[in-house]
């Protein structure tokens, strides 16, 4: 589907992602990033047409945790604003639809998450079916390991190949000053077979922000806007027992609806927190070896919950801004074993 308006990512900022940020509140973590994207465009809070954020109360450990972040935005005089209890990639999607209606020409999107205060593996069990599955506390690494084993059993990958994904990601991250893990990181011991620590994302805290603008406004704010040619997201059944874990039909459908298969892409920023998930996504998104996958290092180098998906959109856009990519796809995921997936196609104008 061709969007009714041309909308672009015109600025992107992210924190350094750290294992622990005890000394910072969420608002303190977020504010420098908000200021960074506003400064990059010269916009003030009062110039922004719509604001949308993504975060999770369960990471903050309390209800209504996003209200204080809004205070940090400086919502005075009152602003047009909304929030999704999802990764910031979906906040960007909501902002994109708002801009499509013509009710706003610019949008500020941000998301943040601190995993350090609790045990994120335990916390994520709370997003499973509350009656039949959550009481068993199957954690996120164990579920990802099921998926990895299914892939190995299907002959789609093997452990050395997974180790290769990890090594490549963290080598790429060496050029990313915000990454939490980079360079030569040992693959480590088994965490949950067949996954070793190197197959799993680091646990960390971080935030990200993006500014969207429509049409000529985007051209005023950015030398080479990253135009959103299409964006779509799809969800699958929740129960792992009714899904083929070696495939990601929702990613494929979202990519198709976003127009990803119409022309080749040169870059893909995939939100694959586990090495095995990159294998699934490469196949679903039909990515050849000539595509630069996760040049930022991806979620294996930094995986701040609720922001990691938005960061994929931001990293892909930033490559277009810098002239390093002409056509990129960005992907975000939510839920166990890639249950829900979002795909955006970003393009720069020929230079």
């Amino acid at each position: 589907m061709r969007p009714v308006r041309d909308i672009a990512i015109v600025a992107f900022g992210q924190t350094d992602h750290l294992r622990s940020t005890d000394e910072l509140s969420e608002v303190e973590m977020l504010m420098p990033v908000l200021h960074e994207v506003l400064a990059a465009t010269g916009l003030k809070t009062s110039d922004i047409g719509f604001t949308c954020s993504g975060s999770s109360d369960y990471l903050a450990g309390r209800a209504f945790s996003f209200t204080m972040a809004l205070d940090g935005v400086g919502a005075w005089p009152p602003i047009s604003e909304s929030h999704v209890e999802m990764d910031g990639a979906w906040a960007l999607y909501e902002a994109w639809t708002k801009l499509l209606t013509g009710e706003a020409d610019t949008a500020l999107v941000y998301s943040y998450g601190k995993s350090s205060p609790g045990s994120v593996r335990d916390v994520l069990t709370r997003q499973l079916d509350p009656y039949y599955v959550a009481p068993l506390w199957p954690d996120s690494v164990a579920l990802a390991a099921l998926q990895a084993q299914a892939l190995i059993d299907a002959g789609d990958t093997d452990e050395p190949a997974l180790a290769g994904v990890a090594a490549r990601s963290r080598e790429s991250a060496a050029a990313n000053s915000h990454a939490q893990l980079s360079g030569s990181v040992p693959q480590g011991d088994y965490l949950v077979r067949p996954l070793r620590t190197g197959d799993c994302p680091p646990i960390g805290d971080g935030a990200a922000a993006v500014i969207l603008a429509a049409g000529d406004r985007a051209r005023e704010l950015c030398e080479r806007p990253a135009w959103i040619r299409g964006i779509d997201h799809r969800i699958e059944a929740h129960s792992l027992g009714v899904r083929d874990l070696t495939d990601s039909p929702s990613s494929r459908l979202a990519a198709e609806r976003a127009g990803a298969f119409e022309r080749p892409v040169d870059t893909a920023e995939l939100h694959a927190p586990f090495t095995s998930q990159e294998v699934v996504l490469r196949k679903a998104l039909k990515l050849g070896d000539d595509v630069a996958v996760n040049p930022s290092g991806g979620a294996l180098a930094a995986n701040p919950m609720m922001a990691a998906g938005l960061i994929r959109l931001g990293e892909a856009a930033a490559r277009i801004h810098r002239g390093e990519s002409d056509r990129a796809i960005a992907h975000a995921t939510s839920g166990p074993c890639l249950q829900q997936n979002l795909v955006a196609v970003l393009e720069g104008e020929p230079s």
């Binding site: 009714v4 369960y58 209200t67 209890e85 499509l100 009710e103 997003q127 969800i235 929740h238």
Partner: protein, 388 residues
């Protein structure tokens, strides 16, 4: 190219009660969604996307429940968005869904909001300690009571006005089969004799805790043309937010509420809301918020809202009926409460509100707010399609 007009062609609610022990969370939401599909005479296959909202996840103890609810809401293979904007979420969720239609992303969208408070304990959910912040430890009533007191002092309203609102809304609820509280023996004296909880708010002037869900089917012009029953057309919708706490904030009449209403009226071409709007479903969790919001929404001059209430203007047979359904004071599944306001406004202009229908209602306002009077969402719906 302008926005695609948005029509409400299906509305469904559960019977709201203190505890729905007969259904799971999935069963509860599916019940409301199926009722909305039935109203629209559509099937799950006709739905292009699902937008779901609820208040904090701690209220049920399920993190991001949309993941688990995808199957129950027929969302598998479809886009599903989860909105959370505190107490205003039910309204915001409907507005996010409306953007999908207005922006021509999808033709037909199911939007739903719920709360199943009996699964956990809302007071616990609201009382978790907050690092770096002074705990309020007062509950919602404790937070809002001083602002009600400020309103009374500022306007000189007599202390009887709050009980009039509660008495009216609880009587209206008797005409609404979905309402949680059906107090058949309600009298004004009983409201006034109920225990004082947070002075000046009495027990009978507060909302209950409910389990319940509300769903709507939103669609474009093509979808509306196929609707078996009259659609409600969206004429305006807006959200506004302001900080919870800051020196310039007017807790009695927040600027965000005024701005939000003004934006909706501008979109709808309404210049005199008191005359041009026929019915209002307003978010009134504590009875005094009716006169306060009457002023904030521009139905009364500053300081005059309580006079409208006292003179019976907001009664079911008054000339500006407010909370015909019984309102939040009679039914409060928190995350759904805002969407119920939006849906009840739509029912009125569709002529489908049953015993609490206002004859000839052509334009109705749905209103929601949340946080510390921080988040606002509203829409104005009409019986006729928008002209612009």
């Amino acid at each position: 190219m302008g926005k695609e007009p948005v029509a409400v062609v299906g509305i469904g609610q559960t019977k709201h009660v203190a505890a729905r022990r007969d259904v799971s969370i999935a069963g509860l939401v599916r019940e409301a969604a199926q009722a909305a599909l039935k109203d629209a005479e559509l099937t799950w296959a006709d739905v292009d996307a699902v937008v779901i909202g609820k208040a904090p996840d701690f209220f049920e103890g399920v993190m991001m429940p949309e993941l688990y609810l995808a199957d129950a809401l027929g969302a598998v293979g479809k886009p599903m968005l989860r909105v959370h904007t505190a107490g205003s979420v039910g309204g915001s969720t409907a507005l996010v869904a409306s953007n999908l239609v207005a922006g021509r992303v999808h033709g037909t969208v199911l939007t739903l909001a719920f709360e199943k408070q009996s699964e956990s304990n809302a007071m616990w959910g609201l009382s978790l300690p907050i690092p770096f912040q002074q705990p309020l430890l007062a509950g919602a009533g404790g937070f809002f009571a001083p602002h009600v007191r400020a309103y009374m002092r500022r306007t000189g309203a007599p202390d009887t006005v709050g009980s009039l609102v509660a008495y009216k809304d609880r009587r209206n609820a008797l005409k609404n089969p979905f309402a949680h509280l059906h107090e058949h023996d309600i009298t004004l004296e009983k409201v006034q004799a109920s225990p004082m909880l947070w002075d000046p708010i009495r027990y009978s002037e507060t909302c209950p805790s409910s389990d319940g869900a509300c769903a709507m089917i939103l669609t474009d012009r093509t979808g509306a043309a196929r609707s078996p029953r009259p659609p409600a057309w969206m004429h305006g919708g807006a959200m506004r937010s302001e900080p919870t706490l800051h020196a310039g904030k007017d807790f009695v009449s927040p600027q965000a509420g005024k701005d939000c209403a003004a934006d909706v009226y501008r979109q709808a071409g309404v210049t005199d809301p008191r005359r041009e709007i026929d019915a209002v479903e307003m978010y009134v969790p504590f009875s005094w918020y009716e006169p306060m919001w009457l002023e904030n929404l521009g139905f009364a001059e500053e300081g005059e809202g309580w006079k409208l209430t006292e003179s019976g203007v907001t009664e079911l047979d008054g000339d500006l009926p407010v909370n015909m359904s019984g309102g939040v004071l009679s039914t409060n599944p928190i995350g759904a409460s805002g969407m119920i306001r939006f849906a009840e406004a739509a029912l009125q202009v569709r002529g489908q509100a049953g015993e609490h229908q206002i004859d000839g209602a052509r334009r109705a306002l749905g209103h929601a707010y949340g946080g510390g009077s921080q988040f606002f969402s509203m829409w104005l719906v009409g019986a006729e399609p928008p002209t612009t």
